[in-house]
């Protein structure tokens, strides 16, 4: 599970962030996450996976795909809900979760 101090740090970006887990992987649920300016939709629910999955060291899933950012969008079913993510493998796990989130969001600028 995500450490409390790491979660507090992420809550400075997304105040309602919650730690979650499924099948031995750690996630941070980020409701109403504001995406970088100019993106549509501007606000989405997001799920930050902090554990390796499908060859990605970490991954950010969104409740809706972004038509004009990212490549190879795929659909996923995690925690009983539908999510979308794109091909972006460059964010390593050995960082603070807030840094991981920031790097994923940078890819959507």
């Amino acid at each position: 599970m995500v450490a409390t101090d790491a979660l507090d740090e992420i809550r400075q970006i997304c105040p309602q962030a919650e730690a979650m887990e499924e099948a031995e992987r750690d996630y941070v649920f980020l409701p109403n996450l504001k995406l970088p300016p100019g993106r549509q939709p501007a606000v989405v629910d997001a799920l930050l996976c902090l554990s390796p999955r499908e060859g990605y060291p970490t991954r950010l899933f969104l409740s809706a795909p972004l038509p004009d950012r990212g490549q190879n969008w795929g659909q996923y079913h995690i925690l009983g809900r539908a999510w979308h993510s794109w091909s972006w493998t460059h964010v390593q796990g050995a960082q603070r979760p807030a840094q991981i989130l920031a790097q994923h969001l940078m890819a959507l600028r």
């Binding site: 499924e22 099948a23 409701p31 499908e54 659909q75 009983g80 539908a82």
Partner: protein, 287 residues
């Protein structure tokens, strides 16, 4: 048509009623899934949820049961072909065809008696099994592969019964991070993978047999977990040595209660605790 199921009365005194009452989810109704659909329709299964986002193409005609040239020309959704196959055999069946990636409509699988996964990648298998475990639904997985070996080919496949509370596909070595990572690097290559009808039929039949033994009492010792490996070159379908070695062990992969139920569930207005506590219709919130 009262005698329609007379020849399978050995399945049990009330088997016709039992099969009519079950609801089966089938994810992927192309190759293997089309055989599953057909088998279950003939058995008298009464309720179906079939999910597949695709339409029939000419390259499906070598293996998709029920698909026709007309379907290719019309680009018929595969789920419509499945519904047609079912209702031609059992007009009373309740069929919900969903032309969508199952990940978008996973909630439709929650109250299925069993889910058949007839998908073509490990990532989808893993997610399906995890979803099935979350809602305590038995999951049956089938899949086949054709591998070049020098100038020849090898056909292989598997049938897996993954039962909540018992060994999972991770325990059985079918799902692992290495396989998932390898698959992710081959993104885009899945569409042209070799596929052919007879292994699909064999694997689907075995999976349906495992399902029937779960819901009808036709023999005294139904199995809760199964992993059958198909060797298409030797024409064998045999229990995996991995399963034999692991029988009796407890699955550790879904131990946490966070793997059970809807983590975003809130009571509806009908169930509002006290006053003023309504379901969150905006962003999802875990409790």
């Amino acid at each position: 048509m009262e005698n329609r199921l007379a020849r399978q009365s050995f399945l049990g005194e009330h088997s016709a009623a039992v099969l009519a009452a079950v609801r089966v989810g089938i994810v992927g109704v192309g190759g293997g899934g089309s055989h599953v659909v057909q088998h279950l329709a003939h058995l008298g299964v009464g309720r179906f949820v079939v999910l597949d986002p695709d339409c029939v193409e000419d390259t499906n005609l070598n293996r998709m049961v029920g698909a026709t040239v007309e379907d290719v020309l019309r680009a018929t959704p595969k789920v419509e072909v499945a519904a047609r196959v079912i209702q031609a055999v059992n007009p009373n069946a309740d069929v919900l065809p969903v032309k969508s990636a199952w990940q978008e409509r996973g909630e439709l699988l929650r109250d299925c008696t069993a889910i058949f996964g007839c998908v073509d990648c490990f990532a989808a298998r893993e997610q399906l099994e995890t979803a099935a475990r979350r809602y305590l639904v038995p999951y049956l997985d089938i899949g086949m592969d054709v591998h070049p070996i020098g100038s020849e080919f090898s056909i292989s496949g598997q049938v897996i019964l993954s039962m909540p509370g018992e060994l999972c596909m991770r325990c059985l070595g079918v799902i692992n991070e290495a396989a998932l990572a390898r698959e992710a690097t081959q993104y885009g290559a899945a569409g042209g993978r070799p596929q052919v009808v007879w292994p699909n039929g064999l694997l689907a039949s075995a999976a349906v047999g495992l399902f029937v033994q779960l819901v009808t009492p036709w023999h005294a010792k139904p199995v809760a977990t199964e992993y059958l490996e198909y060797d298409g070159n030797r024409h064998t379908l045999t229990r995996s040595n991995r399963l034999v070695a692991m029988l009796g062990q407890v699955c550790p992969h879904f131990e946490s209660i966070e793997n059970t139920g809807d983590p975003f569930w809130l009571p509806t207005a009908e169930l509002a605790p006290g006053k003023g506590s309504l379901r969150n219709t905006g962003s999802l919130q875990p409790r």
